[in-house]
């Protein structure tokens, strides 16, 4: 057993030495290859980019750019009842301003509809929030094309957002021509982003209709009718109700407040007509 050990020992030492020299050469070669590769990438970057990332499609580029922005904007607007800058007629709940879509002062009375064209209002707010971001996306796309060696000519950029059934449409009205080996001309692009906000807004409008007519709404019926809806009604001591509507699949939400047919502590007959 010990013989074997002695015989084997010098062999292993010699092998280690050889490996060390070969390893150093190998490292030099790898470093040289990396340096050459970096130089090539610097000089051939636009062409390589096209090869690595594939051809650039303006519609996909704009969709990838605007989609996360649309989702963030919708979530932010939804949290504040469709208002980006809410400074009147709101309730502060959990530190967030929530708009009264239906309100009545005093007790024993049904509320008055405060925002009758809710979907249109939401659409306007969404549109004005997305306009500058849409412009940014177009600019970024032009820069990207230029960085890949394309020639790009862009006309005046405008955009329009609209809430559709199960989606949000963002129309980029930006005449554009892209040239390299040939010329491609575009009038504009229609980008669609999946969203269930139209359903949530429609439910909110319906709840307001109930609140203003009957004084209250029954959440269970809505949730049974809309399988993907989660509806919370939080009743507060001053008679305000905070409704939280959310889609359990898309996680979108719309929150609003209402004060209708509220009941005072005791009778509060002298408070019935006052605010």
């Amino acid at each position: 057993m010990s013989k074997n050990y002695k015989e084997g020992f010098p062999y292993f030492v010699g092998m280690k030495k050889g490996l060390k020299t070969k390893g150093q050469v190998g490292i030099f070669v790898i470093v040289a290859v990396v340096i050459v590769a970096i130089i090539l990438v610097i000089f051939l970057y636009p062409s390589l980019k096209s090869v690595v990332q594939g051809p650039l499609n303006p519609e996909s580029y704009l969709k990838d750019c605007i989609s996360p922005i649309v989702k963030t904007t919708i979530n932010e607007l939804g949290k504040h009842s469709g208002y980006s800058n809410l400074n009147e007629g709101y309730y502060v709940y959990d530190g967030e301003k929530i708009k009264y879509l239906c309100y009545v002062s005093g007790y024993y009375k049904t509320c008055v509809n405060q925002v009758p064209m809710l979907t249109s209002h939401f659409e306007k707010e969404l549109d004005s929030a997305l306009k500058p971001r849409a412009q940014e996306c177009v600019n970024a796309m032009v820069d990207e094309y230029k960085s890949r060696g394309y020639g790009v000519v862009v006309g005046a950029v405008s955009s329009e957002s609209s809430i559709m059934l199960n989606k949000i449409k963002i129309s980029f009205n930006s005449p554009m021509s892209i040239s390299k080996e040939g010329v491609q001309t575009y009038k504009g692009f229609d980008i669609y982003v999946d969203s269930q906000m139209s359903e949530l807004l429609s439910i909110a409008e319906n709840v307001v209709e109930y609140e203003s007519t009957l004084g209250d709404s029954e959440t269970t019926y809505y949730m049974s009718y809309y399988p993907n809806l989660r509806m919370e009604k939080i009743k507060l001591s001053d008679g305000t109700k905070v409704y939280k509507l959310s889609n359990i699949v898309t996680k979108e939400q719309f929150i609003f407040a209402s004060r209708s047919l509220s009941w005072p502590p005791g009778l509060a007959l002298d408070q019935a007509g006052k605010i």
Binding site: E88, Y90, S105, V112, P116, H121, E209, T219, T220, M231
Partner: protein, 581 residues
């Protein structure tokens, strides 16, 4: 002379002061006068408020009357011509500011009809129908003749559906659709037109049927369809096929003809969580959803019947999707004139496998009611928050009126009671009290006593009460209704050998009565009987948050919650009485 001048100066000073005060008072009175504001400074339309809270610029009006009596705050319908929607109970100004068209009565544009959207339907206005159809890329199919939503929904359920075979790019392809859509025409009364292409329709055939010779083949992919509970197979052209059934995934027959729900796997079950059957039943707690996690994946495809039922809830019971039930977890009992201070009712709902809690209105102005429906051995629980109709209980003088459940929520407490209040005294053979006593805001100072959020809100809306003691005064008035008086005559007999005066029955109001009328006085104790105090304190507690109540945590108040006083009315005759309040 000096005195005269001083008197004149003094008179002048008083007069000036009076005039200044009356002017200030006058201005203040105008500011705090109750008016109808077309818009308040808080941005709310048509609210009854005080004059100082009305917006007076931009042509906004106000009138010293209630909003319901004004012309400018008359409520009507607001029509949104862009979306084709109508909103009722809308003031004119809020509609116009949003860009809508206002009318006092329901306009013609707001009349509803049935909008057919493929195999779905919506009961909407014509403009809305056009928009929905455009959103889905369909031709407008609107029927004004259908006047109810139920009829509308039923009208699309009997539509013929099947394979619509057509040629595209020199290839025979197929779309699974309705006969109407396949023929490319619309049966609309208002909008007609020919579609992009007309195909050959094969009723109840699937696009993957080999006999049709299309390029649509069977796959193992699945999908959820809008308005449908079930998981469906998809063919290679993206058309829905039959309900997902892992055992029949490669059976040609299952990919040839349309199978109904009843002909598919486990039709009597919700199939929640089943990996092999996609015949979900929403009413039984199964609904098509994307699979989550490897353990919950179906054998084929990315969708499964999700379990919407709640296996375990707060009360330890299992509930079905859509069921709701009442929960009362506060200390102490409720009903029959009982409810602890600060207690309230909660409605719990089982939705999408989640227990959602909904509180009924504060101050026990709402109670939770619950009932169960049993059908074919299955029980379904339903609950609701309902208004507590306690307000006129004490005004009921007889048991029949008191316990009339159609009108009010009260209980009748039999027995003799002498009630003493501002209206005078009365002897009653029973008292009608709220079944669930309401909560009362008895702490008075609203601004300091309310929670942070509520105070903030009150300030935002200018709702800090004009008289901070309004609530406390009202609490006193409500509890004060349970002020009871017992008048007894204490007399000493000539021959009973005792020096102590004893109670002589004269009726609870001292106007003659039976022996039991003397039950408020304890001759031994020479004071008011505890049993009389207990009996009357029960009435006191039934009025609201009054008397010796405990709170929702079971803690007693800092004081007794009532006062018993004994006063001699006519000392010469050694009379005494108890007053409870």
């Amino acid at each position: 002379m000096v005195n005269n001048n001083m008197i004149k100066f003094g008179f002048l000073l008083v007069l000036t002061f009076t005039i200044i005060m009356s002017v200030i008072g006058g201005v203040s009175a105008v500011d705090t006068q109750n008016v109808c504001c077309e818009k308040t400074t808080n941005g709310l339309f048509c609210q009854d408020s005080t004059a100082d809270k009305c917006v007076s610029s931009d042509g906004f009006r106000q009138a010293p009357t209630a909003c319901r009596s004004t012309s400018f705050c008359k409520l009507g319908t607001c029509y949104d011509s862009d979306k084709g929607t109508c909103a009722s109970n809308t003031p004119q100004r809020s509609c116009l500011e949003g860009g809508g068209t206002w009318s006092a009565t329901n306009p013609e544009q707001c009349s509803l009809g049935c909008c057919v959207l493929g195999d779905q339907a919506a009961f909407v206005t014509l403009v809305r129908c056009k928009q929905l159809s455009a959103d889905l890329g369909l031709l407008t199919n609107y029927n004004k003749g259908i006047t109810s939503e139920t009829q509308c929904v039923l009208s699309v359920q009997n539509q013929d559906k099947g394979a619509c075979v057509y040629e595209s790019d020199f290839e025979k392809t197929c779309k699974f659709t309705t006969r109407v859509e396949c023929s490319g025409t619309s049966s609309s009364t208002n909008a007609t037109g020919v579609g992009k292409s007309s195909g050959i329709f094969y009723k109840d055939k699937l696009c993957s049927a080999e006999e049709l010779g299309t390029n649509c083949k069977k796959t193992t992919q699945t999908t959820c369809l809008p308005g449908k509970d079930e998981v469906y197979f998809l063919d290679s052209c993206g058309n829905p096929a039959n309900i997902y059934d892992a055992g029949l995934a490669d059976k040609n027959e299952y990919w040839t003809n349309v199978k109904t729900k009843l002909e598919s796997c486990n039709p009597s079950d919700g199939n929640a969580g089943s990996k092999s059957c996609g015949n979900c039943n929403y009413l039984l707690g199964g609904y098509c959803r994307a699979s989550t996690g490897i353990a919950n994946r179906a054998t084929y495809g990315d969708n499964i019947c999700a379990n919407l039922n709640c296996a375990k809830t707060q009360n330890g019971k299992a509930y079905k999707h859509g069921e709701s039930w009442c929960v009362y977890t506060d200390s102490g009992s409720f009903g029959k004139g009982n409810a602890p201070v600060g207690s309230s009712f909660y409605k719990h709902i089982c939705i999408n496998g989640e227990e959602v809690v909904e509180q009924c209105a504060d101050y026990r102005q709402e109670e939770c009611i619950e009932d169960k429906i049993t059908s074919t051995g299955v029980t379904f629980s339903q609950a609701a928050c309902r208004v507590n109709r306690w307000q006129d209980c004490v005004a009921q003088m007889d048991e029949k009126a008191c316990t009339n459940a159609d009108r009010r929520d009260c209980v009748w407490k039999p027995g003799k009671y002498a009630v003493s209040n501002t209206a005078g005294s009365a002897e009653m053979i029973g008292v009608c009290v709220p079944k669930i006593p309401p909560g009362i805001k008895f702490w008075g100072d609203i601004a300091s006593a309310t929670t942070g959020a509520a105070t903030t809100q009150a300030q935002i809306l200018g709702q800090v009460a004009t008289a901070t003691n309004d609530y406390a005064d009202e609490a006193k008035a409500i509890c004060g209704q349970a002020t009871f008086k017992c008048t007894v005559t204490l007399s000493k007999g000539l021959f009973d050998g005792s020096n102590d005066a004893k109670c002589k029955d004269e009726g609870i109001l001292g106007n003659g009565g039976s022996e039991e009328d003397c039950d408020c006085w304890d001759d031994e104790k020479k004071g008011v009987k505890q049993s009389w105090i207990d009996k009357n304190s029960a009435i006191c507690m039934a009025m609201g948050d009054c008397g010796p109540k405990t709170n929702w945590l079971g803690s007693k108040g800092y004081t007794d919650g009532y006062k018993v006083s004994v006063a001699s009315v006519e000392e010469a005759k050694s009379s005494g009485g108890g007053l409870f309040g």
